[in-house]
Amino acid sequence: MTRTQALGSSGEDLAVDHLVAQGCTILDRNWRCSLGEIDIVARDGRTTVVVEVKTRSGSGYGHPLEAITPVKLARLRRLAAAWCEAHEGVERLRIDAIAVLADREGVTLEHVRQVC
């Protein structure tokens, strides 16, 4: 596992802890299909939430949330639809983004709901 992969997966672990603390149930992690990968799928009340997690070890290349481009958002929408096809019982769907910034000053986590 490379350093960035390790950073990414530890960021996802932090995001899962955060979501659980918020009262969500985790339905799926690192779900893959031909279109790509969804980091986390959770259930928040009656809403199914598809979560994209971005982790950075510094803001030298910009804030993690800035790395979520319109192209990535479009792929997330297609992935969310693919997940819904593969699973049953989805009532409402939401796509969230979680930024994990781990630099020398510590770890900060930002959760942005309904990004598209």
Partner: protein, 508 residues
């Protein structure tokens, strides 16, 4: 606080409208959107604002920032909104107290390092802000002297975005920066030549004074080298200093045209002498998107001199007709309307024919009669009808050159004479609400108590009967007669004054 507001000014011509800049901080992926009909320069503000903010030690929030320029339907141009957008966007994060921004107008462009760049049109912007009742105007240091020409509003000139934020109460460490100066240094106004330089031409010098006293438009016809250009360049020197309101209007137009305004109002009337290749847009004003003032507006309250008038395009010359009547020009484009002042004094100069020798004593005209007719025919009748004084300028003879030496009339004496004449006219026409003979309605001149006695106006009535004068021409001769009377200090025009006026009118 997620919504912050501040003010800016959208200019259309010399008029300005206050624009409210609202910035909203919403939950969402980082984005910076400007809405409310920005043009390209204004749309690019988002990149300037982002860099300038982070280089001023105050990053934009990593959230969705939407900036709305209200009224949203009014098209907005230029980079002068940068500062207001940056301040509003940063105020959404609480870096600046939003209460401190109430009634504050921000004008200025941001450079990427956070310093403020001077912009064009600050003077009319500050005037518009004062008219709309703004509390304070923040401008770049380079525009400070220009903005302070407007009395009655607090002007704060600062060098960088950081200084502006500190001024509004942000807790940042001040970092001294070198302010960006205005791109153009103050131009030394060209010296107005003296009337005493003119050799000979006593009639022309007298006619120039009549034109200056009454605000009459003037046309000079003569062979090349006769001194038409020299005479025309002396006319602004004869005009009195500008009134304060006129001086502000002149400076506003200069500011809109991107010319230096300096730290004090110019009180001498401007002279514009465009080349005859001038296009409609350069003379009248215009352009796509941002409408800019043309030569007629830069010459407002001064003199517009068109040398070689028949060489101008006919359409361009005829476009002068409307501003000559109304004293202002309103330019309409699909998306915007702009008003500029255009109360100028027109001076036309022309040769009598393409070779220039017609009617001169020492040369032979080689033009065919048709060519000669066509040449002056390019000046349309309606335009010439608006020109009060028509003067024939002849070549100076050897006798005048060696005998007379320098002319006896200097600019100083002539200007004093013109000033006296103008004050007489102003006193006389106070009830009519004008100060110049050239703008007195004809009906006033032709009715009591200003109607001339029949024996004084007999020559004029004869000319009208013969068809040599139109009714408009009749009124114009009366106006010239009053200007001659004012110059001489006489009481009322007599037959002699009317005769002189007729000569000046019919000089062609």
């Amino acid at each position: 606080m997620t919504v912050a507001r501040t003010l800016a000014v959208a200019l259309h011509g010399v008029d300005g409208t206050l624009v409210e800049i609202e910035a909203d901080l919403a939950n969402g992926l980082p984005a910076f959107t400007i809405i409310g009909l920005p043009d390209t320069a204004l749309g690019e503000a988002k990149d300037r604002v982002r860099s300038a903010a982070s280089n001023s030690g105050c990053d934009l929030p990593n959230r969705k920032v939407t900036v709305n320029l209200s009224p949203a339907s009014l098209p907005k141009h230029g980079s002068g909104f940068d500062l207001g957008i940056a301040v509003a966007a940063l105020a959404t994060t609480g870096a600046v107290d939003t209460a401190a921004l109430d009634g504050v107008v921000h004008v200025g462009e941001l450079s990427l390092d956070g310093r403020l760049r001077p912009v064009a049109g600050v003077l009319p912007s500050v005037l518009a802000a004062r008219r709309a009742g703004a509390r304070m105007v923040v401008v770049p240091s380079g525009n400070g002297p220009e903005a302070r020409l407007v009395a009655g509003i607090r002007v704060v000139a600062l060098g960088s975005l950081r200084e502006v934020l500190i001024h509004h109460g942000a807790s940042l460490e001040p970092v001294p920066v070198e302010a960006i100066p205005v791109a153009r240094p103050d131009e030394v106004p060209p010296a107005e030549g003296d009337l005493g330089d003119v050799v000979g031409h006593p009639e022309a010098i007298e006619a120039l004074q009549v034109a200056a006293a009454g605000g009459h438009h003037l046309m000079m016809l003569g062979p090349p080298g006769a001194g038409k250009t020299l005479l025309a360049s002396r006319l602004p020197g004869l005009l009195p200093d500008l009134e304060p309101d006129a001086a502000v209007e002149v400076a506003s137009v200069r500011s809109l045209a991107g010319l230096a305004v300096g730290s004090s109002l110019v009180t001498r009337p401007p002279l514009e002498s465009p080349h005859h290749s001038a296009t409609m847009a350069s003379l009248i004003g215009g352009g796509s998107g941002l409408l800019r003032p043309g030569a007629i507006s830069r010459a407002a309250h001064g003199v517009l001199f068109l040398d070689e008038a028949p060489e101008f395009s006919g359409a361009v010359l005829d476009a002068l007709r409307q501003p000559l009547e109304t004293g202002q020009i309103t330019i309409h484009r699909a998306r915007s309307v702009a008003r500029f002042p255009a109360r100028f004094q027109l001076v036309l100069a022309a040769n009598p024919c393409p070779c220039g020798q017609a009617e001169s004593a020492d040369g032979h005209c080689t033009c065919t009669p048709m060519a000669r007719r066509r040449y002056l025919g390019r000046l349309s009748g309606p335009l010439l009808d608006r020109v009060d004084l028509r003067l024939t300028v002849r070549r100076v003879g050897v006798a005048q050159m060696t005998g007379g030496g320098q002319g006896s009339t200097t600019t100083a004496t002539a200007r004093a004479r013109v000033a006296r004449a103008r004050s007489r006219a102003r006193e006389r026409w106070t009830d009519i609400g004008t100060g110049l003979n050239s703008s007195v309605p004809g009906s006033v001149l032709r009715s009591a108590p200003w109607r001339l006695a029949p024996h004084d106006r007999v020559a004029l009535d004869r000319a009208l009967e013969r068809g040599a004068l139109t009714m408009r021409g009749y009124d114009r001769v009366l106006r010239i007669a009053w200007s001659i009377v004012d110059l001489e200090g006489a009481d009322r025009p007599t037959a002699e004054h009317v005769g002189h006026a007729l000569y000046l009118r019919q000089g062609l």
